[in-house]
Symmetry: D2
Subunit: 354 residues, 4 copies
């Protein structure tokens, strides 16, 4: 209820603040019998972790996950998987610029208003550090969903947009560049642009595209829990996300039905895929693809004006080691959330027929 | 679980197929003591109902709601509100074009694949007729949320886009034209365009913008149940929706942090509102605004090619009375879903402090 | 949340007040493809309905159920099953003895305190009339659970106790007597006793025993949703229930482990069944059996003293047509709730392994 | 869904196996602003921990809880409280008597059948060690429910029954004896009896009575989530529980309505309290009291016959350090579960009126 759980049957509950003792979670409902590849889980965490390249925050956090339960002799047991990632980098810092005033477009102000006070260290619960727990759970969900291939990549940074349809891209490019763009040339431009932005102490937004291939037909529960509605919620729950569209998306609004309708082949596949792999909220076996819009990170390393708790104007200075652009590190988070949705809906779909 | 409920504390469960005996729902958790304005509820249904203008489907459905429970002496009692809308227009029709073949970009195929068979009459459960129940519940939610003003309007039809920011529009225009566009001149163009589309037997998509004013600070539950994540899910659960963005949305991705950050005034309001009234998933007291993208309706009154259940190619002909463009009738649905989210999150927010 | 839903995957939501327009419910998550026997559903309702014998209330309510959705060509479709039972017997009555004062051991007082006011007609939502909706849903659950046989019977009325173990009873006796006792001789005594009680204008409590045979191994979710915990909750949610015990129950507390442990046969069955078919919260394939304690109905047809809304003492007189002993009519309700639990847990159990 | 969470708004999710690395949980929805008394939390754990007296298991487990999140400057922040209790006593043991055969009346067999395999060390997830996490959460719930006093005590061990009504007992006796019986003399008899049982390598069951004083009027959600239904489920979810009754309980079945009805005083309190503080599922302000039946522990230190995985008969020997009678250590667990229910229902009750 308090919003720290995701999923119905394959369910993740997370806990932890940015600079608390540990963050982690509980995965309840993970089916018994999955032989876990722990290296693969750590690799996903490494894709998200700080300090992995010159264009992301230079904080040092090893993000090593410890599993406490739910696994026996290398396999999931069907009981809840408890895990923790200890914060090793909690040096006693100067938080005065955060503690007593509200950073613009951050959650500082609303947390104080909602709860009466807040753990201000590093943004507390509102920090994207929480998403490390999602990546752990998503990595396990991926191992449950062996047949399905989920691939996310950066398709825009600021004004730099990769307009090539995903079907014409070579996904093996993605992990070869620090931006995680699926086109090498565009990646180079984006990287250079992000470096410029960082030098300015500024930040910039971007877009991540995600594709799920080999999704079975039938996932999605009408009417409120349409598959794309749940995917949308999953994506919108990631820090800094401002928008979601799937299939033809916003551009599809300008099309006519006679153009937009996807004609069937005799095997039930469709000749086009404006539907984005989902019809009436239910997967139709075609690729599911969608875009997720991320705003520019609010923390800028520039002087800025704001107010303190009493509403007095104050001028302060952003500091610390922050991401100039969040999308390169958000790629594994998008994949993780997509994996969680598909794992959950796979289980739900087992229950709908006699 | 099976996806026919929405909300946590203020919870709507709907039932009903397009051409079944009745559709309706149960509103559980509606607080006791609301003096209901039944005319206002019916007015919302009338805004959604077929046949209200020349640019919507000409089907005749009175959409009169009967309340069965949860109301006593004109006030909600705190017990579940059961209601039904009887289908009066279930003439025995020729459904052969739907029964034995799959309409492209409809839910026909996936329902058959998921459940093994389907109620094909009028689209069954996948029909947008289900949203009448949402409008009933939303109308009651609005009456609970007396202080909040929720306004939706059509901001695009095909290529015709109303680019004026909502703050410069006169909302009293909206209900004066059949398109429900907030600008009279643009409304006239849209109306004319929809009439053309209808003559072609074709359909077109559009965008609805929604604004919630006077939302209290503090609504929204970190981390998975961020306010905008739940609003996004609510909108994406409406038939034909392909995308959702709030605040600066997709356009915000191209901005820099130094431009995008909303500076505070001394009273905690912000000078700009790129955040769209929500920061860190929690309402900050500024207007909440968002866009919802609708694809063109799949049913076109033209011959089309498709497959039958055995995968044989068939040519068939769309028929019946359908909407050439769904957005005019979807305006009250968007408002209703927004009201449901805000009612639910208002109740949730009562439970978070000692 | 507001407590009008039961179940996780096979989920019933009910609505309706005793003397409102209709009561009914929505069954969400009922698997697609069940060929419904509508006569069997009505037969269950008839077992619960008033006026069926001389020892139950003589009210006349036909309790005919109308299905609105979720069924097509006689089969469940996987979409929500909406249904209603219209109240035909809502004559304008004299409610003054209920309206202005609080009947002892009824819910009148607490409803007023909780909600601020109440629908006092016939007890409103707190009336056991609500259980008619449970019987409808339970009857459908039974049809889903074809292999499982659920049998309930009256095992005590007042001091009259049937101590014979269920294994030595002939269940075909149950429906042959109006008490629904599984022993003809005891049934006669009980019937006679209830008639005496009725003559006194008094009421008496009783116990219902329920047995589920042929339950598959593996139903039940550790740790909070143990099978017997959910069955217990289901039973305790029935009006007038004061206690629940399964297997050896309260008597088992006095036993030693060496006596109480159920030894295994080579096929995994056990030689004794003190466990009541459930070990560690999970069904083990043996019969599940349990007892449900019902208090005497609070409504007595005698003068009684109580208070009015202002706390003034008043003397009033019970009237109307009420049950002198609730257990004969509660037998199908106990079975219905058991069927709902087993249907739900059958679906849950499909999701726990890869 | 998978059964490892309890509560709606004040929600505990637990993880951990008996001999895994750690057990623990996440408390989500705990209101912000509770100043935590950490010593009080540890005291509750100490009441449950092994080795506390001569009549409980002599295992050594310090059961020290570490909090990872949700607390800042000594107060709850409204974000999830993650915690862990590391297992320090996981010596590599000889588990052959558990691993390859099924202990009678344990969960060994059903876990293997349900999940395909199991973590057999110390009973894995089915061990009552899991309840340590409940005690942590319950201790925090108690601190939220400052005004309410929850007291549990042992009222029966084997045939030794304390028949004195709770109103005539001196609760200050409870923690003075190792049995946690509220009567010194009876405590001495019970202690002596448990010692005898232990010498025999046998076990015995018992009953715990629990009383909640000063509960506000209005807690409980009709119709399925009646307060006593949720309390019943909470209790039945505790290991070894076989029955639950509240107020007059099973004995009340033999009473007449005219005796059983609780007459009102002018202030809304009642002269008697057969209702057990709950009417129509809603607390009425009187004391809530109930009994919980515990079976004898299944692990006996005697030779016993059983089957192995292939169904072959085997004779084996119980070993290890086990409780001869579980009720002394279960007293704080019963209190913890009661506190969780009352905390949850207190929050729910904030949402039911305008």
């Amino acid at each position: 209820m308090a919003g720290n759980s995701f999923g119905n049957l394959f369910k993740l509950t997370t806990f932890g603040e940015s600079h608390g003792r540990a963050l982690g979670g509980v995965i309840d409902g993970c089916p018994a019998g999955i032989e876990l590849d722990f290296d693969a889980i750590q690799r996903e965490l490494d894709r998200r972790k700080p300090g992995q390249s010159a264009i992301v925050t230079q904080r040092k956090e090893p993000d090593a996950v410890e599993f406490y339960s739910g696994i026996f002799e290398g396999k999931t047991t069907g009981t809840p998987i408890g895990f923790a990632i200890h914060n090793t980098n909690q040096k006693s810092k100067d938080y005065s610029h955060i503690k007593d005033s509200y950073r613009p477009s951050h959650a500082d102000y609303v947390y104080d208003q909602k709860y009466g006070f807040r753990d201000y260290r590093g943004g507390g619960r509102s920090s994207a550090r929480e998403t490390a727990s999602r990546v752990v759970a998503g990595a396990i969900a991926k191992q449950f969903l062996k047949e399905i291939k989920i691939t996310a990549y950066v398709s825009a940074v600021g004004d730099l947009k990769l307009d090539t349809p995903y079907t014409e891209l070579n996904f093996s490019e993605i992990e070869k560049n620090p931006v995680r763009c699926a086109d090498a040339q565009m990646a180079a431009q984006m990287e250079s642009y992000i470096k410029d932005i960082r030098k300015q102490g500024d930040t910039v937004g971007g877009v991540i595209t995600c594709v799920a291939e080999n999704v079975p037909i039938g996932l999605g529960e009408p009417v409120f829990d349409k598959l794309h509605a749940e995917i949308g919620k999953a994506m919108l729950s990631i820090n800094a996300v401002k928008g979601f569209e799937y299939g033809s998306g916003f551009a599809g609004c300008a099309m006519k039905g006679s153009e937009h309708n996807d004609q069937y082949n005799s095997d039930g596949t469709t000749k086009t895929n404006y539907s984005g792999g989902i019809q009436g909220g239910i997967s139709n076996g075609m690729d599911i693809y969608f875009n997720v819009a991320f705003k520019p990170v609010a923390t800028i390393i520039q002087p800025y004006e704001t107010i303190d708790k009493e509403g007095n104007p104050v001028t302060t200075q952003g500091k610390g080691r922050h991401d100039p652009c969040v999308v390169p590190r958000a790629v594994p988070i998008v994949e993780a959330m997509m994996a969680l949705v598909l794992a959950d809906y796979t289980l739900l779909n087992r229950t709908i027929k006699i």
